[in-house]
Amino acid sequence: MAEDLVLDTAIRDWVLIPLSVVMVLIGILRYFVSKLMRSSNQAPDPKMVKEGQVIIRARNLRAAANYIPAKSFRARRVYFSNEENGLLYVPKGQAQNAQAQMFSDPNMAMDMMKKNLSMIIPQTLTFAWVNFFFSGFVAAKIPFPLTQRFRSMLQNGIDLSTVDVSYVSSRSWYFLNLFGLRGLFSLILGEENATDDTQRMMQMSGFGFDPTKSLGAEKDSLDIFQHEWALPKFEQRAEAVLKKLVS
């Protein structure tokens, strides 16, 4: 079996490097396109914003509860969660159907579709491009050995069973780029980079998001919260400090 295949340098110049450069450029382009699409629309519904702010306030109270005395905490908790006019209390029957709300707001569905399209279209196009132009030859060699199982996946279009599995076709180089460049994007594009697919999935699952439900959840967690005063020796300490100041 041939130890080393000699690959044409033209493959490097016309396949390997261009493919990587194109992938990087497409990633950057996608980032800016999705940014443009995102910023263009909508003033948010004031009621939604209000509820969101209430939830944030309740969460802050829960996070910092141990730094206020028990009495103050109880007073604030009642303010948020009493059954008559507490901010977090949602009367039964007022909770609107999330599904219905979704249909009444076509903007939302439109937004989702735009986001999805901006992700899927470039990927499909690039994949088709790679398949069409660069199939049927060895394009790269990965520097670690792989088992025979990977052959059908990595050597697509190369019908030679004697070639070592670590020689891969351009399609696998494409996939390697697709996954490996994510780190590079997060470095050059900064924090909220649009290519983060996992985050996209999270957003998708939170699509039928129901504000009344989160209000209720926040109310429950506030109700069961155990207050534990974090500064028991606070007064003695203050006394000591003041005494030192006076004397």
Partner: protein, 117 residues
Amino acid sequence: MANLGAPGKTASDITDELPTFNVENMQNNAKIIYYSRTFMSIIGGVIAGILGFTGLTGFIFYFLVMAITSVGLAAKAGFSVHSYFDGWNRIILDGFLGGLLSFVLFWTFAYDLVHIF
């Protein structure tokens, strides 16, 4: 590049040894760890490719690079890890495998350019 935020723990002795954290600074520090690791994995990949490591050697090199990054981050925090992060786990393990794909990509890239063609 890594400017660690102000200490995550503020004056623990005042509040009876109760650790208090500034969430924003914590997140900032975690982000810096992530960036450093990604950066190091890319650079490490290029270096491994140029040196021509293959097989297991390359992966060992990756773990070595990550270990060096951990030490570097700890040194940046002045080895008082607990005032910047909530434990050693974070500085040693966070994002350890996240950079692996980037590493493999740049390793392959540099290796192919230098040694195969």
